[in-house]
Symmetry: C2
Subunit: 218 residues, 2 copies
């Protein structure tokens, strides 16, 4: 069944499997990913993957972990005060999630509890604390920023033509919209007021950070 010279190993590793899975999801979307197809992409049978990954769920967890770490990894130390650092984190997280839209539903659903994730959380809290934020406030802030970013990005990739044009979005059904019944929605389409994801996200993050800054009195 294999087209390798009968006996030669493909040299799989957990990393290669994760890489291939990420590529496959980016190319064909999350629902299309199956162990058989992933194996085929690697020139290998499905069951061979199970030597490197305990099961499909663990594989997906690994993908989430990897994507999340790219967001944290790009961040340095909070030299210019905690506020800009938190804003940078939010934008880095959004970029990381947008880079792999297929993984986003997974990231939204599965809590990451890997040792690396714990280390990142610890780093977060330590940085915020040395910058003068109380511990509870710091934890609240990171959670609010992260959950908002995930929620916002979910809406963003769900609304854009993204990976599969299943449902017509607001723009596409603008023509069918009765201006008499939906005057405000019609005006939204016409003026495009409030339809810019980038500026909306930036503004909301600014508001959140400013709000916590005011509350912490910093």
């Amino acid at each position: 069944m294999s087209d390798r010279p009968s006996g030669a190993k493909a040299g799989l590793t957990r990393e290669k499997v994760l890489d291939a899975a990420l590529d496959y999801i980016d190319a064909h979307g999350l629902p299309a990913l199956s162990m058989r197809k992933l194996g085929a992409q690697l020139g290998v049978e499905a069951m061979s993957l199970y030597r490197h990954v305990p099961n499909k769920d663990a594989l997906l967890d690994g993908l989430v972990d990897r994507v999340m770490q790219t967001a944290f990894g790009d961040l340095g130390e909070p030299v210019g005060g905690w506020a800009p650092w938190v804003r940078d984190f939010a934008h880095a997280l959004r970029s990381a999630l947008l880079a792999h839209p297929g993984v986003l539903p997974l990231a939204a659903t599965r809590p990451v509890n890997s040792p690396e994730a714990l280390r990142m959380s610890e780093r977060w809290l330590a940085a915020m604390r040395t910058a003068g934020l109380p511990l509870g406030t710091a934890l609240d802030l990171v959670n609010v920023i992260a959950t908002f970013t995930i929620g916002h990005t979910l809406a963003e990739v769900g609304q854009t033509p993204g990976h599969e044009g299943t449902e017509p979005d607001l723009d596409q059904r603008a023509g069918e919209l009765d201006p008499a019944e939906f005057p405000n929605l019609t005006e939204v389409i016409a003026t495009r007021a409030g339809l810019d994801f980038d500026s909306r996200f930036t503004q909301a993050i600014d508001i959140i950070v400013a709000g916590y800054a005011a509350q912490a009195g910093v």
Copy 2:
């Protein structure tokens, strides 16, 4: 195969199918839902469901639509100014989502584009506008509130023992936590500072609403 008196109809309707699906997900979790099991719950074969629902995806969309409408439906007119109305909406949405945690991943993933959803959006915009908010700001606000609420609620049900104890959460692995390596996390566990979902959500919503109020100069 059926235990009905051979020929008697079960009297299915789309509504009954959706009801049963919601019940089943609440009881056994989203991944456990299959057309066969849902049919069994209704005393019917799987294929019978397809007379009332085009396919499983449409069924899931219907569930999201239904849950979302409960959040909007409970809301009256914004009599006391738009700010408390928006806060009420946020809390109502969170309650509606928490009431059916199994549907939450669906609600987060599938954009709702049903005519009812459009009507609700129109109502939202109209109410905010008559309360003095510019159109673009109103749309930004509703989107920020909705996406944050979804993101926050996702984290909430993902972290709590919820429906299936798959992964140990922070509390459960508190014992394995090395206080030397994770001083801040250890302190979080001990003091429970920043671990209250209710107050965190309320506070964040207050901050967001206040921020948009300040920006709109209202």
